[in-house]
């Protein structure tokens, strides 16, 4: 009799403990509520729409490539592949870019010249910030003081000198070239850079950003160093 009572109590307590634990879990980790206001949601929506249109244009390009492959299968598959390779090289910056863009001049600020302060080089942090800012505005190609920026370009401090692709950047003045796909994009980039606060950050370092007007034709040099492939390997000829 006594034992059955204890077993009953045990089962009931097990259920109670389980319910308590679930209640505790629920109270401790409440589902996060969406507290964004309409403007935040709108902003996110516009960001998503932008991504959507970007993806659409990407799909269009890929569709074109597929179409080209289809057309060229009978004629020359090699030509189509060559085309793709060229396009890929262009995308990552191994080919010279000629097209619309803007040129930014980095100069010592007037105050530092008037006060005779020594011109210091640009710091890597500031340069990275500028390049991030430029990339945010959808730049295709960037060249800093003659050094082409590609996906793996290091920007860092080497013995007190700021280097890009392991080559030191000159002290101001030097130029930064930005290539865009269309002239409209270049105009947009110009306006966005003019409006951005990046100029103030340069001013703190006694530097001045002189953003040039959008141009129809600028030339950005290609990346001239060897690319290290970590994972890709060349297939010997005759094999596939």
């Amino acid at each position: 009799m006594r034992k059955t009572v204890y077993i009953r109590f045990t089962i009931v307590l097990l259920i109670i403990g389980f319910m308590l634990a679930i209640q505790f879990n629920t109270v401790q980790n409440p589902e996060t509520r969406d507290t964004r206001d309409i403007w935040a949601i709108r902003q996110e929506l516009s960001k998503e729409t932008e991504t959507h249109s970007e993806l659409l244009s990407e799909i269009y390009v890929l569709d074109q490539t597929i179409l080209k492959y289809g057309n060229m299968v009978s004629e020359s598959a090699e030509l189509a592949l060559q085309d793709t390779v060229e396009q890929l090289k262009k995308d990552i910056g191994l080919v010279e870019h000629t097209g619309p863009g803007i040129i930014i001049k980095v100069e010592p600020s007037l105050e530092s010249v008037a006060l005779g302060q020594p011109v210091e080089g640009i710091s890597p942090d500031l340069l990275i910030r500028l390049i991030n800012e430029i990339n945010r505005f959808k730049a295709n190609d960037i060249e800093v003081d003659g050094k082409r920026i590609i996906y793996s370009s290091p920007i860092r401090d080497v013995n007190g000198k700021t280097t890009v692709n392991n080559i030191p950047v000159r002290n101001a003045p030097f130029t930064i070239k930005i290539g865009t796909s269309t002239f409209e994009d270049a105009q947009k980039m110009y306006n966005q850079l003019e409006a951005s606060t990046i100029g103030d950050d340069f001013y703190i370092d006694n530097l001045k950003l002189k953003i040039g007007k959008p141009e129809q034709n600028i030339t950005i040099s290609s990346y001239d160093q060897a690319l290290n492939n970590q994972f890709l390997k060349e297939v010997p000829e005759g094999e596939s």
Partner: protein, 115 residues
């Protein structure tokens, strides 16, 4: 004696480890169910100490009380009246009464043993 405690610890750890969460709207149902279960438990302990414990009454009371409390809460939600307050009140009062009786019985037993 230790078996019920073990059950409680096992139940709590089971609940915490499985990390089950219930939607917010069912939270009140669960809390009232917990209260009903506790009420039945203390009622059972009291009955056991008073030697009037009945297995059927205890088990049926446990499930029936939980179901009734949840049903009251459900009805309250749909009628727009906080009926679950009635259940909380009833269970709360009974809980305190039962605990008071248990305390008295235990105190009497303890003083008897001392003498």
């Amino acid at each position: 004696m230790w078996l019920p405690l073990l059950g409680l610890i096992l139940g709590i750890s089971l609940g915490l480890l499985t990390e089950i969460q219930i939607p917010e709207i069912y939270e009140s149902y669960l809390s009232i169910a917990v209260l009903a279960a506790l009420d039945t438990l203390f009622g059972g302990i009291r009955a056991h100490l008073q030697h009037v414990y009945d297995d059927k009454v205890f088990v049926s009371g446990f499930f029936f009380n939980i179901a009734l409390a949840a049903a009251l809460a459900f009805l309250g939600v749909h009628l727009g009246i906080d009926l679950y307050l009635a259940a909380i009140f009833a269970f709360g009062v009974r809980l305190f009464q039962n605990i008071a009786v248990i305390r008295r019985i235990l105190l009497t037993k303890w003083s008897e043993r001392k003498n």
